[in-house]
């Protein structure tokens, strides 16, 4: 240990973080064994230098992963947040495995910006894949420290000792032992996690890979779980913000006089932010309705019908993300060629909890509770808005009522911070449902063009693929195709929004960004070729795959489903699709029924096989697969943002239809393990097959090929007419 870098008692030099009482802080950092990560360490969490510099009073390495307390309880610190996807339950399993403690003795603190290691945000199925290995390394390091301490205490050499169940004992004399609690007693030991080999292989795992119950279930079933809107500060005011009628609208006149007459209401205008505040949120809302404002609407002749032509014209230059062979040579080998264009609409995140935040500003310090997927980014955003140093802002994470990518943007919390500073009282901002739809960063509408060819032997011989506006993820095809090229034009993030002249409003990451679009197009197109070749679609895929993990999930899903080979359309309504999502392999088979009179599609059952290396908590992983399948029915069948110019038409659930109980298919999930590969994520993969597996099943049922999502009854009827 480097004493210069780590003072004996850091509390002599650093104060408690704002918002924490000194007692809380002492309890958390004093005594026991604490394992940090080094900020320079590449394994860990891409902390930009500006965040390190912003830590001010705290040492830049105040990034504990875990602490073993003098009471024997272990505290796990993670910058990830609980959105419902289950890290509260899964991460303690990873720690318990390497530290050799019962998982029940592990407490977890998520997303607290003063206590937890920096994290960019909870998205992209990264928690298990990227944070997991770092956490396990920290836990393994702590175990080594404890065994060393035990060796001193027991007078037994390290190689004769073993750690198990929160204690270290002599392998030959199990009665000679000392508990972690005893070892941590009166100690203050800090260690840095080292990237070392020696994490447990799956064959030795006792905790990971075994199903456990959600830790948050009881709180959520009793109403005790606190979300941002449930946080109260004394004297707090509720704010409702004024929403313009369209994106890009410029206010020309504001008359808040009627709103100001509401007893107790206060109207605040701060640049573009206009809000009504009151001690009751509903009174604030009623007063806001009395605010009159005129706007100049931006000129735009775009709408949800002509958007695809516009996007095709406005798409930025592409770049080839994958290519091999020579497309002209491939075309010569083709017995037949197929060319299609696939479209999908703008889709909203529509989490059940709208964006909400509570911010208290005291002098130059701020404390925030927010429904966010990115607390550390929010900390910085609030600091900028308030013009205070970043280390003065403390973000604390309550439960979040769903994110799906939509809560990576934190506008509501910045609004709350600005208002709190202006009125000098804590402020809660809760967006209305209309606000939520309006300010959403939609999944981009997108266009995919594919030209391909198949040999007389049923082999795909060329593949020319171009995706506009959706993005790169899952665009690269994984079939064994000698001549291929994949071009990506435009991304969902980084300037893909209104400012870039493409979309009429902002777009962003939506659960499995880009992958839903790319998988719908690719797997639909594979089926188009299979049908034309007169080959069963599962067989056609197997003939053209040489990736063994992909073949395994495909066979597993087909077997679970009870797939019997037939060329489509077989009139059975069976569909298949397979995909990879950031290293996770996933296949699905589905059965649908199509009402030929109404055009309505009912998905009757889905069988899904997923290989994410290892499911840390199989129970949680299964729940994620089921959730993905249900949620995926929405973008597949109904979800679509209608708009004229930059004005949105779907601002609540009457016209924007989410999946319901009555849509529920029978769902069967098989988790396939590949112990030899790194563990990958499971929060998103199963959603990406839904568009194609249903489109393929509809074709099998009816002979009609749907090339546009969502497959609304009207579009189904149009397609049926075209047969």
């Amino acid at each position: 240990m480097n004493d210069e870098k780590y003072p004996v008692d850091p509390l002599d030099e650093i104060g408690p973080p704002p918002g924490l009482t000194r007692r809380d802080f002492l309890k958390l950092v004093s005594g026991g064994v604490v394992v940090f990560f080094s900020t320079g360490d590449e394994l860990f969490l891409q902390e930009p230098a500006r965040f390190q510099a912003g830590r001010g009073g705290l040492p830049s390495d105040f990034n504990a992963f875990l602490k073993i307390g003098e009471d024997g309880r272990v505290t796990l610190f993670t910058g990830k947040v609980e959105l419902g996807q289950g890290p509260t339950t899964a991460l303690p399993l990873m720690l318990a495995e390497e530290l050799e403690v019962p998982q029940e003795t592990v407490d977890i603190i998520l997303g607290d910006t003063d206590l937890c290691p920096y994290d960019m945000g909870t998205f992209g199925s990264q928690t298990i894949r990227a944070f997991g290995p770092a956490l396990r390394a920290a836990a393994a390091e702590a175990r080594v420290v404890l065994v060393e301490l035990a060796s001193e205490k027991l007078g037994v050499p390290v190689d004769r000792l073993q750690a198990k169940d929160g204690a270290v004992f002599d392998k030959s004399r199990p009665q000679v032992k000392v508990t972690y609690a005893q070892l941590a007693q009166g100690k203050k030991i800090e260690r840095h996690a080292q990237v070392k080999p020696g994490l447990k292989p799956p064959s030795e795992m006792k905790v990971m890979g075994k199903p456990v119950m959600r830790r948050d279930a009881r709180d959520k079933a009793t109403g005790k779980a606190k979300y941002a809107g449930d946080i109260r500060f004394p004297g707090m005011l509720y704010a409702r913000v004024l929403r313009p009628p369209a994106h890009g609208a410029k206010m020309t006149r504001l008359d808040a006089s009627a709103a100001e007459k509401t007893p107790g209401a206060r109207v605040v205008q701060d640049g573009d932010l206009i809000a009504v505040l009151h001690e009751f949120p509903d009174v604030a809302e009623a007063a806001l309705a009395k605010v009159k404002a005129d706007y100049d609407l931006p000129p735009s002749d775009l709408n949800d019908k002509n958007i695809y032509d516009h996007l095709a014209k406005a798409a930025p230059q592409g770049r080839a993300v994958a290519q091999g062979g020579n497309l002209d040579e491939g075309a010569k080998l083709a017995a037949f060629k197929v060319e299609e264009q696939y479209l999908n609409a703008y889709v909203a995140h529509a989490a059940m909890e709208t964006h909400t935040a509570v911010v208290k500003v005291e002098g130059d310090n701020a404390t925030a509770y927010a429904s966010t997927q990115a607390p550390f980014r929010l900390k910085d955003e609030i600091a900028q808005a308030l013009k205070v140093p970043s280390q003065n802002v403390h973000v604390i994470m309550p439960y979040v009522g769903g994110g799906f990518g939509g809560k990576t943007r934190n506008t509501q919390a910045v609004q709350a911070a600005r208002l709190a500073q202006i009125v000098g009282k804590p402020v809660q901002v809760t967006w209305s449902r209309a606000d939520e739809f309006f300010y959403d960063t939609f999944r981009p509408a997108a266009v995919v063009n594919i030209a391909s060819g198949v040999s007389s032997a049923g082999k795909i011989v060329f593949w020319n693929y171009e995706v506009l506006w959706a993005g790169e993820r899952s665009s690269e095809q994984f079939y064994d195709i000698p001549h291929h090229r994949t071009v990506v034009r435009g991304e969902w993030g980084g300037g893909g929004g209104a400012a870039a002249g493409g979309h009429p409003f902002d777009v962003g990451a939506w659960r499995a960004p880009a992958s839903n679009t790319n998988t719908f197009a690719r797997e639909s197109h594979i089926d188009v070729m299979a049908a034309k070749a007169g080959v069963d679609p599962v067989e056609f895929r197997l003939m053209n795959l040489n990736n063994e993990r992909m073949k395994r999930v495909l066979r597993t899903a087909a077997e679970k489903f009870g797939w019997k080979p037939a060329k489509a359309p077989s009139r059975r309504g069976f569909g298949v699709s397979c995909a990879d999502y950031a290293g996770t392999y996933i296949a699905a088979c589905a059965e649908v029924e199509v009402n030929l009179a109404t055009g309505a599609i009912q998905v009757k059952r889905v069988a899904c096989a997923q290989d994410s290396g290892l499911a840390v908590n199989p129970d949680g992983a299964t729940l994620q697969v089921e959730g993905c399948i249900m949620m995926g029915l929405g973008y597949t069948l109904t979800e679509e943002m209608h708009f004229t110019g930059r004005k949105l038409h779907d601002l609540n659930f009457d016209s924007y239809e989410l999946p319901r109980f009555s849509w529920m298919p029978k769902i069967e999930t098989v988790l396939v393990n590949s112990p030899e590969v790194p563990i990958t994520g499971g929060g998103e993969p199963a959603i990406i097959n839904m568009g194609s597996v249903v489109a393929n099943a509809v074709f099998d049922a009816t002979g009609a090929r749907l090339l546009e999502l969502p497959m609304t009854p009207a579009r189904v009827k149009t397609a049926l007419k075209g047969i």
Partner: protein, 159 residues
Amino acid sequence: MIDTLSFTLNGKSIRLDVDGERPLLWVLRTDLGLTGTKFGCGEGYCGACTVLVNGEPTRSCGYPVKNAAGKSVVTIEGLERAGRLHPVQEAFVKHEAMQCGYCTPGMILEAVGLLAKNPQPSAQDIVKGLDEHLCRCGTHPRVVKAVQEAARMKGAAVR
């Protein structure tokens, strides 16, 4: 206009000075501090704000608090009895019938109302009974299993 309203809330009589036109949802959440009842859409489409009024599942976001006068209101906080979960709550926990949990209180109260009327519902009855409740995380299959299990437990039809 401020009215003095009396009603039973989670088994206890309360008196409240409140503008009777205000939505029950916000009176519960703000004036009475019962935050288990959630705001989801404000227009009665999603069901997150569901409470029981005289045993009937009711969307509290569009329900003027004056309409509760003289009635019995039960929120998610009022389902436990002597520290024991209501069978529907117990079944939701057992089947992990939630992810983000935001729609869960409303679903549970709807299910309690359903079982009181129909103690042995079929899966289809449950689907129909809960169809106006939205869940974005897609926990629907677990919710149906949980309600089926609750129906088999003693005391499930109590509200």
